[in-house]
């Protein structure tokens, strides 16, 4: 479970891709016509947004799997995904504020995506706090899975209601609306961030796994999974 070598490979290759992509984005790619160099934050901001959504989706799936099938690995993954998602939403808010000041003239605007990101950060941050307060591992796993499912299901509702409330953000861009020179560093960074985050989340899940194992002992059976009958050793001391 959670072997180190592939994880380190993921992290190193992801970091390399990020360095290459960011160098192209900062040095080689042309400046955008209207926003100038400020636009270059897109090369990290947009992949971060994808990663935040990806991490929360992964948390949702892990939570669902944990409640349906049990299994501590899903709980470990949930813990890693929650933290990754919360960090990426915090990064998103900070990068958004940095970009918004020269572009919109203010650090913070009540735009649907910005507001939704902030609410997601607090929503999933609250679940991390819940995990911190509940000592008993089974309870912690079950409750945080329940809370993660509810928080994830709620995200579209938050987005929809904040959007009704008034909008300012840029429309999402797709490959068709972005010129080639901008697309290369964006793609490299996105791929790099996916690899880097997968590796880091794997290590984080491993840490969660080991910490729980130290507390419950390695023999602790997966919750809800019936204890397997002891396997008869064939040809042992006969």
């Amino acid at each position: 479970m959670f072997q180190m070598r592939p994880l380190v490979t993921l992290i190193v290759s992801g970091a390399l891709l990020l360095i290459i992509g960011s160098s192209i984005g900062l040095l080689a790619a042309p400046a955008e016509r209207y926003m100038g160099d400020v636009q270059r934050i897109m090369y990290i901001h947009v992949p971060c947004a994808w990663m935040a959504l990806l991490a929360f989706s992964y948390a949702f799936v892990s939570a669902l799997f944990y409640l349906l099938y049990g299994g501590w690995r899903h709980d470990a993954r949930l813990e890693a995904a929650l933290e990754a998602g919360a960090i990426y939403s915090l990064l998103l808010c900070l990068q958004g504020a940095l970009w918004a000041k020269p572009t919109w003239g203010v650090y913070w605007a009540w735009d649907p995506r910005l507001t939704t990101t902030a609410i997601m950060m607090f929503g999933f941050g609250g679940i991390i706090a819940l995990r911190g307060f509940v000592r008993e591992p089974t309870r912690r796993a079950r409750w945080s899975a329940v809370a993660a499912i509810i928080a994830f299901v709620n995200v579209p509702l938050v987005y929809f209601s904040v959007r009704l409330w008034g909008s300012l953000h840029q429309l999402q861009s797709g490959p068709r609306s972005i010129a080639g020179p901008f697309l290369v560093p964006l793609g490299l960074n996105a791929l790099g961030l996916v690899l880097l985050t997968s590796g880091l989340m794997g290590i984080r899940a491993r840490a969660a796994w080991l910490r729980r194992e130290r507390k419950m002992g390695p023999e602790a059976p997966d919750e809800r999974r019936p204890l397997e009958p002891p396997v008869k050793e064939s040809g042992g001391d006969a």
Binding site: F133, W143, I150
Partner: protein
């Protein structure tokens, strides 16, 4: 008698016997509304404009108190475990509690309405719409609130944890209820009121079944 109805009857009886607590929760909400007017200052126009927002933020704060207390009683003497040992299904316990909480939040909200009208000098052109917002909004706070209260009542620092989990979740409720209340007060020229009520109905339609479904995982031992 069906188990669900028995559970609901027990909740309502409990609430009637601890009605002093509901009164205390109302007093908390009432003083919050008073504090808001100090934050804004003696500016009748501004107070009238933001009356809906003050009402709902006050009610949200008061309802976290009510929700936390309601479940604390259950865990104090392991009463919840007793209920589960009976053949009562977890979702019967959940829906009985949620309906009782809905009623309680609704009553506190209805009691806060006159105070809002007097304190902020709010006109009352559409009382029916105001009540509809109150009923839908209280239900939307009660559904996830009951579930989260069940979790947080069993951990230390529950008074911090419940708002931390509940507030981000009920942002759509707050937005919709505040807008719908403001529209009911100031008049609905653009016919937006039904859209915001629709948001509240949607929130309820998602969270009442979802929270009822997940409740079993919260109390199961």
């Amino acid at each position: 008698m069906r188990p669900w109805r028995a559970a609901l009857r027990k909740e309502l009886l409990l609430q009637w016997r601890t009605r002093a607590e509901v009164a205390a929760v109302f007093a908390f909400g009432a003083i919050t509304l008073l504090l808001f007017s100090f934050a804004v200052g003696p500016a009748p126009q501004a107070l009238r404009t933001y009356a809906g927002g003050f009402l709902w933020v006050g009610l949200l704060m008061a309802s976290t108190l009510a929700l936390a207390e309601g479940f604390h009683r259950e865990t104090e003497n392991q009463a919840l475990e007793g209920l589960l040992l009976l053949s009562l299904k977890p979702h019967a316990i959940y829906y009985a509690k949620a309906v009782a909480n809905w009623l309680q939040i609704g009553i506190v909200g209805a009691a806060l309405l006159p105070e809002m009208i007097v304190l902020y000098d709010v006109p009352m052109p559409a009382p029916g719409r105001l009540l509809a917002v109150l009923v839908a909004g209280a239900a939307a706070l009660a559904a996830p609130g009951t579930l989260y209260a069940a979790m947080t009542s069993q951990v230390r620092s529950r008074s911090t944890l419940l708002p931390l989990l509940l507030f981000p979740l009920v942002v759509p409720v707050l937005l919709a209820a505040v807008k719908a209340t403001a529209l009911a007060i100031s008049g609905d020229i653009m016919r937006e009121w039904s859209t915001w009520i629709g948001v509240l109905v949607m929130f309820n339609a998602i969270h009442w079944p979802l929270c009822g479904l997940l409740f079993a995982h919260v109390v199961e031992e």
